[in-house]
Amino acid sequence: MKSMHISTTINGDSAEFVCGPDETLLDVLRNRLGLTGAKEGCGTGDCGACSVTLNGRLVCSCLVMGAEAEGAEITTIEGMAEGDQLHPLQKAFIDHAALQCGICTPGILVAAKALLDKNPDPTDTEVRYWLAGNLCRCTGYDKIIRAVQIAAKEMRSA
């Protein structure tokens, strides 16, 4: 299988890589670009630990081929903070103990940001359904939902 040369934008920076036609975007991010913030929990789109946005749309990067990144804008957890300024969601997750082991955290943060970008004032139920594709086995979700709402409130008043 012949490798392809792909030009893309990741977290606002231009990026180029070579990948095989069978490599997923998650493989490329983790193994070719060293961006290991997105995690592989299942490889089948069931757990959401690999969540990134592709042209503004929330996707499981394990279900996107690396080649599909050509000309696209991708954002990952590594691009969420601005310099040393954490995003309000990141800060709320730390301050309100919304993580335990932390393996699902990057995916949940990316997904939650995508929600708040669309809907700055969601109900708890809307947050719960939006995050239904992001499995967390440690927290029981309680503190995650609360932290998303705290961040949403802070972002609305900013």
């Binding site: 069931d46 990141q90 993580l99 335990q100 393996i103 947050v127 029981g140």
Partner: protein
């Protein structure tokens, strides 16, 4: 180490909720988990797994795989020795089958190649000649004489005659005269129960990176709950000395007991030794389901006698647990914990551990307790309904307390069961109105907790900060708790302390992060290490002041002259003493090594409201409250987190999760789509009430909190469903088809 006499002291930092030290790393993607490590020149390894539930491996032909370009090595069980230690041998045989594949997904051979793609391709070229054998996956079937035998000669002597060799161990606990107890009862209920095997379901698959050099040294990076235990078992399997195998625990993406053993690490080490190159292995989710974890499945009979006014006169339980293809000891903990919540005159439990053609069981949060207590608490609830008694009153009437001879032998010291029951009784949740098809259930929960081998080093840095080195992977915020206890004891700010988790060459042996032991044991060792450092700092101050060491006390983070010298000198803070340490005798450190006992048992009570959809049989949890005794909640956020997370795992166990096998003994649902763990939209908030009944065995009164919360949800939900729609579900999970069938049977 006893509770401090000054335990009623007002804590300044313990009990607060500062940010965890690893928080920023974990919200920015910087934290390094098992699969995130790389090494120059590393190879990628994959395992070929048995397609059969039970089969003799007649031959393995790897010639074609080895001929594939990019393949560097293939290993089978022949590449390992035969450890004398049976525990290590079982671990090894579970990694790669020796002569016989014992379950669907059992590893047979492994390949290392220059890329993951080549490794996967090579697996298809390995030819294995199997002779398929009859199999058994059900616990009751496996116990019958004439059942297919999973392993010969593993049965202990006290297993009675007339049972299959698959029954490996038998145990019995209890006291009193059962016959007399049942004779005193106004009513006796006998019921049988079954629970399915569930998986720990950590989101991070097992992953490791092994590097063995030609002079016999090795480095191993892996996600584990205990790097020292990994070293012990891998050194035994590899025939290495412990000092030559350095194991570093990565950040761990969940464990819940499932990462207390190894599944791939010896394979990666063997492949690295064979190739002379670093080898990385990462399991797929399918492999995680097929070949790691899960918990036992069970079949149980419970008989309880009760008076009309709700006093239990006798309790008896027979527990049969299958733990997969190797001997396990889990039923012992079930038999010990089944009636732990009750003060009983007559109680007896019997347990049998059984082998089947399923993956080797791994510990899962309070291993053995959830199913046993589900069975007992279901019967207690049935009494309450039949006799018209309040279920919390009945628990209170029979509750174990200080001085109770427990059903498993020891007499309880200070315990918090009555306090949790009283808190539940007083809580608004207990009296809130319910609608149609809604019901409220409750259950007690219990876990022993554990102490164990622990080492802590605490270094006073010359700038007045403190570094703590401990040896237990942090699964749920323990570095924050350890830093808090050190800051409290030393009297310095929390953010002056940094706690790290050492590799196996940097600290003495530490038991695994299990048994809810870390905040208890590592905390205890940290407090003692801090006290050792304080003694040294007081001596240094005494030296500077030219007074007797005994005439110096430590208060509010500073050494102060006391007694006849009180007020003679300005206090010296930790930073003051640290800054001049080079002139007073050199670096200052405290350390403590202990095999801690006095862990202090843990009790909890859960209240659950559910609504059952009579059209679909689906159960929705509407409201949930956890009451638990934490002894002392060091960082309450993470205590609540344990209570919430454990409760939700128990909810999944009660309602959805199960290992499903077909007629050929093949696992049918090895993925998160078909093995359904609870998702955010399934659940309400999980409310928590922390009780603090200090543990007499810890200087601050800490009890472990991690395991108890998975215990009560099974019965709490079954009892809620029973009260909502009038059917008693005796088999878990109460999945919609099962519940619908039960509802239609009700007529």
């Amino acid at each position: 180490m006893a509770l401090d006499l000054h335990a009623k002291r007002v804590f300044k930092q313990v009990g607060t909720r500062p940010p965890r030290p690893d928080g920023v790393d974990k919200v920015t993607g910087r934290a390094m988990f098992g699969a995130d490590a790389t090494a120059p020149g590393m190879l990628f390894a994959r395992v070929l797994r048995s397609p059969h539930a039970h089969a003799v491996i007649k031959s393995i032909d790897a010639a074609d795989a080895l001929a594939l370009k990019g393949v560097k090595a293939v290993v089978t069980s022949d590449d390992f020795g035969l450890p004398e230690d049976m525990f290590a041998r079982d671990v090894q045989d579970n990694c790669l089958a020796r002569g016989k594949a014992l379950y669907h997904g059992h590893g047979v051979a492994a390949v290392a190649a220059i890329s993951d793609a080549v490794a996967k391709q090579a697996l298809k070229l390995i030819k294995v000649d199997y002779k398929v054998l009859p199999h058994v996956t059900d616990v009751d079937e496996a116990m019958k004489p004439g059942a297919p035998v999973v392993q010969e000669g593993r049965s202990e002597e006290n297993v009675g005659a007339g049972l299959s060799q698959n029954v490996t161990t038998y145990c019995e606990f209890g006291h009193g005269d059962l016959k007399a107890g049942f004779a005193k009862a106004d009513k006796i209920i006998e019921r049988s129960f079954k629970t399915a095997a569930t998986h720990q379901g950590y989101i991070e698959p097992h992953a490791c990176l092994a590097s063995v050099t030609s002079d016999g040294k090795a480095d191993l990076w892996c996600c584990t709950q205990g790097q020292f235990a990994v070293r012990t078992v891998c050194a035994e399997i590899m025939g290495m000395e412990a000092s030559q195998l350095r194991v570093t625990a990565s950040e761990i993406g969940g464990g819940f007991g499932g990462k207390t053993t190894v599944f791939i690490e010896p394979i990666a080490l063997a492949l690295s030794r064979k190739t002379g190159r670093p080898v990385k292995m990462v399991m797929s989710r399918e492999e995680v389901f097929k070949a790691t974890g899960p918990t036992v499945s069970s079949s149980m009979d419970v008989k309880i006698g009760m008076t009309k006014d709700g006093r239990i006169t006798a309790g008896e339980a027979k527990l049969r647990y299958q733990g997969g293809a190797f001997p396990t000891g889990t039923v012992t903990m079930g038999a010990q914990s089944a009636f732990a919540a009750y003060d009983l005159e007559a109680v007896r439990t019997y347990g049998w551990n059984v082998m089947t053609n399923r993956p080797k069981e791994a510990a899962y949060r309070a291993p053995g307790a959830p199913m046993a207590i589900f069975a007992v608490e279901s019967v207690v609830d049935e009494f309450c309904q039949e006799l018209g008694l309040d279920p919390l009153d009945v628990r209170l009437k029979n509750a174990a307390k200080k001085g109770t001879k427990s059903a498993y032998g020891p007499t309880f010291d200070e315990i918090g069961l009555v306090a949790t029951l009283e808190a539940a009784t007083a809580h608004p949740h207990y009296k809130a109105p319910l609608g149609p098809n809604q019901g409220r259930g409750l259950s007690c929960g219990f876990w022993f907790n554990f102490g164990g081998n622990t080492c802590v080093s605490l270094n006073i840095n010359t700038d007045g900060t403190v570094g703590i080195t401990e040896g237990n992977p942090d699964i749920g915020g323990s570095r924050a708790s350890i830093s808090l206890m050190a800051a409290e004891e030393l009297g310095i700010a929390y953010d002056k302390v940094r706690t790290i988790i050492a590799d196996t060459n940097s600290l003495g042996y530490n038991d695994i992060t299990d048994g809810s032991r870390v905040t208890f044991s590592v905390g205890l060792a940290t407090i003692e290490a801090a006290r050792n450092a304080i003694r040294i700092m007081c001596a240094r101050a005494a030296k500077i002041w030219g007074i007797d060491e005994d005439a110096v006390v430590w208060e509010d983070g500073a050494a102060k002259p006391s007694g006849p010298n009180a007020g003679d000198f300005e206090p010296m803070t930790l930073a003051d003493i640290a800054a001049v340490s080079a002139e007073t005798g050199g670096p200052i450190a405290g350390h403590h090594e202990v095999n801690a006992d006095g862990a202090g048992v843990s009790f909890g009570v859960h209240l659950a409201d559910v609504e059952v959809d009579p059209e679909t049989g689906a159960t929705k949890v509407l409201r949930y409250t956890v009451f638990q005794d934490a002894g002392r909640a060091v960082h309450p956020d993470y205590v609540e987190g344990q209570m919430q997370g454990g409760a939700v795992q128990g909810i999944g166990w009660a309602l959805n999760e199960e290992y499903i096998y077909n007629d050929e003994g093949k696992l049918q649902n090895a993925g998160f789509l078909d093995y359904r763990v609870p998702v955010a939209s399934d659940l309400p908030n999980i409310d928590t009430v922390i009780l603090e009944i200090p543990n007499p065995g810890h200087p601050y009164g800490v009890r472990g909190v991690g395991e108890t919360p998975i215990v009560p949800p099974l019965a709490a939900l079954a009892n809620a469903v029973s009260r909502a729609v009038g059917v008693r579900m005796t088999e878990l999970p109460m999945s919609p088809p099962k519940l619908l069938k039960a509802l239609s049977g009700k007529g």
